[in-house]
């Protein structure tokens, strides 16, 4: 059950590729997916259509918001994405007919796994599981596929162009990179994967609520990224895993989880700016060097 929450890393990751550090992009895209989900239940669209639709819708919204956001830089960029996220949250909160308002949308159904029972029920490994277990495996597969797709993108020429923008946007312009257009594309991609993540989360959580669109949810994802290691491929996934494990462990001892989280963050920012992945990388480099010189 725990690991199935990992889908949330997917959208985290794109951030690493996202040159300007558009931390809020996924926040709003996540919110958007929620909206998508509300629609989903009413129309009772099957999962195979609804899930990709969540990605497409996430990308489309990110395109619209991104159109404005990439025109700004740094703190202004961050503030504008936050503003958009708040707008989306307000919509989720107030538009009762579509989003259920304050109450959100409880009882999001699981995808239909009946066909597996019908066709694979007699096979040794398939069949006889609970719906939640089927969904867990479905998530694992989809998350793995998403990670694969993202890895492909990061190591593609497009990914390289994004890296040049992160490294030196001025110079990137002067090797012929249309910086804004690439940033917008990265934004939309981040939105797409955030949408896909949100699509899974809504089902996993058996409901979607305006809270998910609130900025604290976005900051959670940001914390996962910091914890795992910004600018590394698997860092955010590791961060998500560790954060969720930590949360579960600590909440059973004490009610001061935010206090612990804050302390962890401070230690992290000052002691290990590269996060877990960065620290492990540095450690292994040191051990390797020692082994070689010995």
């Amino acid at each position: 059950m725990l690991r199935s929450k990992r889908y949330s890393n997917v959208f985290l990751k794109e951030e690493g590729a996202n040159p300007t550090g558009s931390f809020k992009a996924r926040g709003l895209a996540l919110a958007v997916t929620m909206a998508k989900h509300f629609g989903l239940k009413k129309l009772a669209v099957p999962f195979v259509l609804a899930w990709p639709a969540a990605g497409v819708f996430g990308a489309a919204c990110a395109l619209v918001f991104g159109f404005f956001c990439v025109r700004l830089t740094r703190i202004y960029f961050a503030m504008l994405t936050l503003a958009f996220a708040q707008i989306v949250w307000a919509i989720c909160f107030k538009w009762n007919e579509l989003t259920g308002g304050e109450q959100g949308m409880p009882e999001i159904p699981y995808p239909d796994f009946g066909w597996i029972e019908r066709f694979g029920g007699n096979l040794p490994l398939l069949g006889g599981w609970r719906t939640a277990e089927y969904f867990y495996f479905l998530c694992t597969i989809l998350v793995a596929a998403s990670l694969w797709a993202l890895h492909r993108i990061v190591t593609s020429p497009f990914g390289r162009m994004l890296t040049t923008i992160r490294e030196n946007a001025e110079r990137a312009e002067f090797i012929g990179v249309n910086v804004r257009r690439y940033e917008l594309a990265a934004f939309a991609l981040a939105g797409a994967f955030a949408g896909l993540a949100g699509g899974l989360f809504g089902i996993f959580n058996r409901g979607v609520f305006p809270d998910f669109a609130y900025w604290t949810k976005s900051s959670e994802v940001l914390i996962m990224t910091l914890l795992g290691g910004m600018g590394t491929f698997l860092g955010p996934s590791i961060g998500a895993l560790v954060l969720i494990l930590l949360n579960q462990q600590i909440v059973s001892y004490t009610e001061y989880w935010p206090l612990v989280l804050g302390t962890v963050l401070v230690v992290l920012l000052f002691g290990f700016p590269g996060g877990i992945a960065g620290a492990v990388g540095a450690l292994s480099a040191r051990l390797f060097r020692r082994a070689r010189s010995a």
């Binding site: 020429p157 490294e167 110079r171 312009e173 090797i175 012929g176 690439y182």
Partner: protein
Amino acid sequence: MLEVRDLVKVFDGFVAVGGVSLDAPRGSIGAIIGPNGAGKTTLFNLITGHLRPDRGHVKLNGRDVTGIAPHDLCRLGVGRSFQRTNIFPRLTVFENVQAAFLSHRGRGWNLVAPVERLYRDETLGLLESIGLADRAGEIAGFLSHGGQKQLELGLALALEPEILLLDEPTAGMSATETRDAIRLIERIARERGLTLLFTEHDMEVVFSIAERITVLHQGRVIANGPPNEVRRDEAVRRVYLGERH
């Protein structure tokens, strides 16, 4: 090839460039000199679209390119280097030049191909010609200052430019490095038949390779012509002697 007419740029009432005109005919090697603050870099930034001029125009092969975005100008055959070294410091030397190839040849929107193999030969060939072949795997930011300048030249050359604009290509170099760099630039310009326009403060460098020299002072052209003429020019002597004493 490049035609600059009456460019003006004013920053908060300060006239950085006050009506500069110059020409760079195809295949020529031209230098822009002048004391610090004469407006050389501003002029460059106006030509390459970093800044929008308040007046005047820039034409490239007869086409008006005034204030055009740098990424578009690149496609029209303009390569440039910067005074303060401007590379992608955390990528390797190879990746730097390869990125320029990818971008220039329009492969940047490919989301699926593995990047490592693309333009491998072109990149290595170019690194060879600028003398960085044995450094291909090094992180660019760890190269010596001279090495980084060389790499920047490589970034510009990957765009297969017709005209190369170099802003102080030897800034911060030692005497030996300067000599090597100039030799390299001159060789490449001649080999590829490039038009070269550069700014420089080292007079020796300028007089050794430039065919035409434009002297800027306080944002205006005070002399323009072949080295011998400029060397004898009264106004130029005054500006330079005035600066040194």
